[in-house]
């Protein structure tokens, strides 16, 4: 960093301070967006997994109905959830990467 202060213009120190202030603001926005994305995914997860125990407990048909000789409740517990986790995770990761990338572009453009 060379001292190139000119009368009237912003000094490097000012530029740095300004950049840091802007940077902090942008970073805060990025953090909030990332958190919102995580919470959204969490809500989707919670809606699926959170409802299941209650549904199985309250709706007796789920336990009585047999599919291939095994109660439907057990199928619901074993089969669909792990793939759903995987899909939720993959969607989240793609979106989170995109948020990071747009932040990078924002910073580079300045």
């Amino acid at each position: 960093m060379t001292p190139s202060a000119q009368p009237g213009g912003p000094t490097p120190r000012d530029e740095l301070a300004e950049a840091t202030a802007h940077g902090a603001l942008y970073l805060r926005r990025l953090r909030q967006r990332q958190l919102a994305l995580s919470l959204l995914t969490l809500i989707a997860f919670g809606a699926i997994v959170g409802v299941l125990p209650l549904a199985i407990d309250v709706v007796p048909q789920l336990r009585r109905l047999d599919v291939l000789g095994i109660p439907l409740a057990i199928w619901l517990l074993v089969v669909p959830l792990p793939p759903i986790f995987l899909i939720l995770g993959a969607l989240y990761a793609r979106r989170a990467d995109a948020l990071d990338e747009s932040f990078r572009e924002l910073v580079r453009r300045r």
Partner: protein
């Protein structure tokens, strides 16, 4: 015999490969450099390999046999824990660059004292999690060689101490990845072959109908090495054969439904299709109750299921040996993509334990008599398919189980020994400059010391289900480190005092719940369910305590540098960013 060979091969292979790999990667920074070449798939397999423990390999099937399909929620929670890690922790923590939970606590909140508290909690959780691993080891050696339970506990405790003390298993990605595929193979192949051999699930009435588990069409003979208190679920005629002084005498009895009695050491003979008595302290379940994933009281109630889901979902990130593995990812996005793959790999593994629990209910009902349902994965192959094939399959599951607790307990002990030698060791010697040799000796001593308490506890925990013991470790982790990470990473106002209060509140509530539950002999009802799995209460209180104390303090933290290090994407070249290295950041506390 073949099982002994298989177990020995796994042990020697693991210890040998570990020792060899250590020579290649001695320090953590070496590990980091070396791992840049490791792909996300290898990393994911390694993370999964270290994670799948005795609880996953033996415990879930055992608990399912004992308690019904409620146990399957646990495998769901074990997988979902990585989703939570992915959403809130993986990428920021990788960018922050702390290698342990204690490092994170100190660097994020600039408080050496909080580091001390975090270290203590690491030891507590690590110890809690080591106990079920040792229990699994004791059971497996007992099944394979007939050695008494405590011999197996001691032997594996020693092997793991030696392995870690000599530096084995530390950060060797390929060994752990290999362990993962070994475990998948060892649990999937026997399960699939047995299902084909049996032509699907047998005896549906005991599984999903109205029947108790029963002696098969040929009756059942159960050898009892010690007097066994049991409960008869239905009226049953049974014979007890007792031998003393070389003569054996047989006496027949009639049990009424609900009768409690103590069977003498010897042999219990049950007539064909007679309902099998269950060890006292456990409940005999009819097929329809057993097959019900939720419903009923105690550990089958909805409250318990939700509490368990919370504990496993939020607790995974707080296990001492989990996060270390994430530093083999080169950067934040890589950490994300590795975690997504972990979700897939774990989902694959957890297809299989449930099959053993269901088959075991029908094919090895004698385990109900002694309450040793945790051994169902080991015993099922021989019982379902007598002869060479069953023996070979049994050897495969035994080897897989051994791989499971060798890898997990080694990973745990590395964290525990590191914490002891770095944080707990008397400070006097830490102030002076220590040579590498002294530090290494200290780590080795710590590796032995850290094993002592879990071994002692494991002796007394023989009667407690593996899956239950593991549930406690998760409850503790979820009540302490989960709020620390979530608030520490995403909330700027968190103070060191707030973090400390929350962690103490969570730890005290979770531990006391578990201890009171034990002291009261596992009471029933909602209260019993909460004592057995306190996470649904202790986690929110820990969060609230952290937030309330942080907001209440006059301190206004401005963790700009820390937030930058946690959340700034890679490749920015921002000015004045000398904060990426937490070891630089820590001492700059006043800046």
């Amino acid at each position: 015999m073949i099982a002994i060979l298989a177990v020995a091969a796994v042990t020697i292979g693991t210890v040998g490969l570990g020792a060899m790999g250590t020579r290649l990667a001695r320090t953590t920074s070496d590990l980091l450099v070396a791992s840049r070449a490791v792909t996300a798939w290898w990393n994911a397999a390694a993370i999964s390999g270290e994670y799948l423990s005795a609880a996953s390999f033996l415990g879930i099937a055992g608990l399912e046999m004992q308690n019904g399909t409620t146990a399957l929620w646990q495998s769901l929670g074990f997988t979902a824990g990585y989703l939570c890690l992915l959403l809130f922790v993986a990428a920021p923590l990788r960018r922050f660059g702390s290698y342990t939970i204690s490092d994170f606590a100190e660097a994020r909140l600039r408080s050496p004292r909080l580091r001390g508290l975090a270290s203590g909690t690491v030891l507590l959780i690590g110890g809690f999690y080591l106990v079920p691993q040792l229990k699994g080891a004791g059971l497996t050696l007992n099944v394979v060689t007939g050695a008494p339970y405590f011999v197996g506990v001691l032997a594996v405790g020693l092997i793991v101490s030696l392995n870690v003390g000599l530096g084995g298993m530390r950060g060797i990605t390929y060994v752990q990845a290999f362990q993962f595929w070994l475990k998948v193979f060892a649990i999937a192949l026997p399960a699939c072959l047995l299902l084909i051999h049996l032509g699907g699930l047998p005896a549906r009435a005991a599984l999903f109908g109205d029947e108790f588990p029963s002696a098969g069409a040929k009756g059942l003979a159960v050898p009892l090495s010690a007097p066994q208190p049991v409960t008869f679920p239905a009226a049953t005629r049974y014979t007890v054969v007792v031998s003393s002084r070389g003569r054996s005498t047989a006496r027949a009895f009639d049990a009424f439904a609900g009768e409690r009695t103590t069977l003498p050491a010897g042999r219990l003979l049950l007539a064909p299709h007679a309902a099998v008595p269950v060890a006292s302290g456990t409940t005999a379940l009819r097929g329809s109750e057993w097959a019900r994933p939720v419903g009923g009281g105690g550990e089958r109630s909805p409250v318990f299921v939700y509490s368990l889901l919370i504990a496993t979902f939020l607790g995974t990130m707080g296990l001492p040996h989990i996060l270390v593995r994430f530093y083999t990812n080169p950067d934040g996005p890589a950490a994300r993509h590795t975690t997504v793959r972990v979700l897939g790999l774990l989902g694959l593994f957890y297809i299989f334990p449930g099959i053993y629990g269901a088959l075991g209910r029908v094919l090895v009902p004698q385990l109900y008599v002694t309450g040793a349902t945790d051994t169902v994965v080991l015993r099922l192959p021989q019982a379902a398919w007598p002869g060479t094939v069953g023996n070979v399959l049994g050897a495969i599951t035994a080897a897989g189980a051994f791989a499971a607790f060798l890898s997990t307990s080694s990973g745990l002990l590395v964290s525990i020994a590191g914490t002891i030698s770095h944080d707990v060791w008397p400070r006097v010697s830490r102030e002076r400059t220590t040579t590498v040799a002294i530090r290494r000796l200290r780590f080795r001593l710590a590796a032995v010391l850290g094993m002592l308490a879990p071994i002692v506890v494991a002796f007394f925990a023989q009667g407690v289900d593996i899956a239950v013991l593991v549930g406690w470790a998760f409850a503790l982790a979820a009540s302490t480190f989960c709020p620390l990470f979530l608030l520490g990473i995403w909330w700027t106002r968190l103070t060191a005092a707030g973090a400390a209060c929350g962690m103490v509140a969570g730890a005290v509530l979770a531990t006391s719940g578990i201890l009171v539950g034990l002291a009261l002999g596992e009471p029933g009802g909602v209260a019993g369910a909460l004592l057995a799995q306190p996470a649904i209460v202790s986690v929110p209180i820990a969060f609230l305590a952290m937030i309330a104390v942080s907001l209440g303090s006059t301190e206004r933290p401005a963790p700009d540098a820390e937030m930058l290090a946690l959340h700034a994407p890679e490749g920015l070249d921002l000015p004045d960013l000398g904060v990426r290295d937490p070891f630089v950041l820590g001492p700059r506390a006043g800046a």
